[in-house]
């Protein structure tokens, strides 16, 4: 149906540039999630694709057509808004059928499409209600129904789940994923929640301050973050970062302790680095995953524990910096207890201390 291309797209509000020349190619039928902290320009980017914001520079193309100067109605897209944006004076049925009515479909055709969409989203019993008489989750489904009745080439979602409670959010996430598998249309989805991004996306686009930091599949960005920002933004708990210097083929930390250099790095003596390790890769001996090829052991004092059931998060100090570690098959741990941890070096990262960029070859 439709690919979407962003070429050197810039957005300026007056003299303030909020999106800086971003490039992105989205394949037909792909589910792409734009993720990043609040204010990084995700919505602005999405709204430029939708035609709700002017494009200050560069080109947006949907299918083969450059759409810079087309109004939203000529772009064959539909959008789900964060606050649902339902028409409060129309019933659910009218909300769903509105775009078709505007497109001058015949009434029987409208009814058929509306019933079909209502069926998919289990809205049939609510068709005659007004949005005011619906719960948040139901409104969300109406907003999605309104987007799907038209069979657009591209769906745009702007934080559609952020107003729902945690349970409903998980539930709707699954529904959105199913919907994508059924409709097979191109989806661009904006969220600040990295869990949503990881679970939904075919490809994740991580943004910061109007720049794209990294594009990749969820596993790629999780396993090979290009910089410390991506490393800490993706994954929960965030990646532990420790500053050190390369000395005698090891990473030496401020307190003089050291760790071996993870495989795959080509470093110079005296180079300042940031060492990154996820909680999943630093575990107490005996409560860890099967060990890999490159391991190191460190002894740490546990300050605090957060039991989560199947695992326990341990807060401890490594080389003077607080780090989070994970304990599998947990046993009760007293704070102040000293434990030996194994560090899976294959999964650790080294970044440039100055720029934060990865030093992986």
């Amino acid at each position: 149906m439709a690919q979407v291309h962003l070429r050197d797209v810039v957005k300026k509000y007056g003299t303030l540039e909020v999106v800086h020349s971003i490039n992105l190619d989205i394949a037909d039928g792909e589910f792409v999630v734009l993720v990043g902290p609040s204010g990084c320009g995700k919505s602005t980017t999405l709204r430029m694709v939708a035609g709700l914001e002017g494009i200050s520079g560069g080109e947006v193309a949907i299918g083969d057509q450059v759409v810079n100067d087309l109004p939203p109605r000529e772009r064959n897209i539909s959008m789900v808004f964060q606050n649902y944006a339902l028409y409060p004076h129309m019933t659910v049925r009218e909300n769903l059928g509105f775009s078709l009515k505007i497109a001058k479909y015949s009434q029987p055709d409208i009814d058929k499409s509306v019933d079909e969409a209502a069926q998919i989203l289990s809205l049939t019993p609510l068709l005659d209600r007004k949005p005011g008489a619906l719960s948040g989750g139901q409104r969300q489904r109406v907003a999605m129904g309104r987007a799907i009745v038209r069979h657009p080439e591209v769906f745009l979602f702007d934080e559609p789940l952020s107003n729902l409670d945690a349970k409903l959010r998980t539930q709707m996430r699954v529904e959105i994923k199913k919907l994508h598998q059924k409709l097979k249309s191109t989806i661009i989805y904006v969220t600040h929640d990295q869990v949503e991004a990881m679970t939904l996306a075919d490809r994740i686009v991580i943004m910061r301050d109007g720049h794209i930091e990294q594009v990749g599949t969820p596993l790629e960005v999780f396993e090979n973050p290009v910089n410390t920002f991506v490393g800490t933004f993706i994954g929960s708990p965030p990646m532990n970062l420790l500053d050190g210097v390369i000395k005698d083929d090891a990473i030496t930390f401020q307190d003089g302790s050291s760790l071996p250099i993870p495989p795959g790095y080509d470093l110079q003596e005296g180079q300042a680095v940031t060492f990154g390790v996820r909680a999943d890769n630093i575990m107490p001996v005996g409560h860890a995953l099967p060990s890999g090829d490159h391991m190191a052991e460190v002894e740490m004092t546990v300050d605090l524990t957060e039991p989560l059931g199947t695992e326990t998060l341990l807060f401890a100090a490594l080389a003077g910096t607080e780090v989070q570690a994970k304990m599998l098959n947990p046993r009760p741990v007293q704070s102040g207890e000293r434990m030996i941890f194994q560090v899976m070096l294959d999964k650790c990262h080294l970044f440039d201390a100055e720029t934060g960029a990865t030093l992986r070859k």
Partner: protein
């Protein structure tokens, strides 16, 4: 706490001594009035003095042959004679009809003009405040002065309109704006619309500011042209504001008096006579206050009718938007 407050306990005690009894004591203990009534007393007294007594007095006088020039006629009870006379009086019904006509034409024109003004102002990005204030200008003048102003503008000899038309060569005769019955009504409507369009303008502008942006954007994405967005989303949101303006203005126009009085004095030959110019003339010129009051009471039903009508509309428009009642 350095200041000595005028109602400090000591002074209050002194006052109590002076008057010996608290008025609350008299009302509650001696007259045995329940406390809620005592608490409501100030409101009741003020309301009776300002509203209730004049209302009852005028209602009573409408059943008498009260003439301003003969105060003793206030006690001459004639039953419903005044009312019978009013409802069978062709002049009364003509004025009634004219008032309804003025109301219908002026309100609709004002609504359309006010809506256009508000839409235009809301689109302006620079100087919106200044424009908003300017839109309010006509409301800042006394209706009497507006009446004089338009009396001059529409004057057939020296008026601006005829002067302009003649120098532009549109006509070479003096058009009798205020002398011809139909034209006089037109001129009055013109003046009325000029003064009060801003009521609609400002309320509709408030409505435009209150419209959430999201549904409008959804409409754009749903394929609406700007006109369709207006028709299907903006307008339903504005309806409550329009009905509020209608309710306010219908009360205003139903009691229209000053502009007409100044511009045409109900003339020529009563062609622009409205309810309240007729009532005013009957009461103060002909001095038949009892009859005037009777006509007044019939006329008030007009105002009440329109108020109820527009409030019903307002309620249903709000319900439509899911705003409850």
């Amino acid at each position: 706490m350095g200041l000595h407050h005028p109602t400090s306990p000591i002074i209050r005690l002194k006052c109590m001594e002076l008057f010996h009894a608290d008025p609350r004591d008299i009302l509650m203990k001696r007259l045995k009035l329940p406390p809620w009534l005592v608490l409501l007393m100030p409101a009741i007294i003020i309301l009776s003095a300002v509203v209730l007594i004049p209302l009852l007095l005028s209602l009573y006088s409408s059943f008498t042959s009260y003439r301003l020039t003969r105060p003793d006629s206030l006690f001459n009870w004639i039953g419903t004679f005044n009312y019978e006379k009013a409802v069978t009086d062709a002049k009364f019904w003509a004025a009634f009809g004219r008032t309804v006509l003025l109301l219908a034409v002026a309100l609709n024109l004002e609504m359309l003009l006010g809506l256009s003004l508000a839409l235009m102002i809301s689109k302006v990005t620079r100087g919106q405040r200044a424009l908003r204030t300017m839109m309010m200008f006509p409301m800042m003048f006394s209706p009497i002065l507006v009446g004089f102003q338009f009396k001059f503008i529409f004057n057939d000899n020296v008026g601006l309109v005829n002067n302009a038309l003649q120098s532009l060569g549109v006509t070479d005769t003096a058009i009798p704006w205020l002398v011809d019955g139909k034209l006089a009504m037109f001129s009055i409507i013109f003046a009325e619309v000029w003064t009060s369009t801003s009521v609609f303008g400002i309320l509709i502008l408030a409505g435009l500011y209150a419209i959430p942006r999201d549904p409008l954007e959804a409409a754009k994405v749903d394929g609406c042209t700007p006109f369709q967005s207006f028709r299907f989303v903006t307008l339903p949101f504005l309806m409550p504001f329009i009905y509020i303006a209608m309710a306010i203005r219908s009360l205003d126009v139903a009691r229209a008096y000053d502009i007409v009085q100044i511009m045409t004095n109900g003339g020529p030959a009563r062609r622009t006579e409205l309810l309240w110019t007729l009532i005013g003339r009957t009461g103060y010129v002909d001095a038949r206050m009892g009859y005037a009051n009777a006509m007044g009471y019939v006329s008030i039903f007009l105002a009440i009718f329109f108020t109820i009508y527009f409030f019903k509309k307002l309620q249903s428009a709000r319900k439509e938007l899911g705003m409850g009642v």
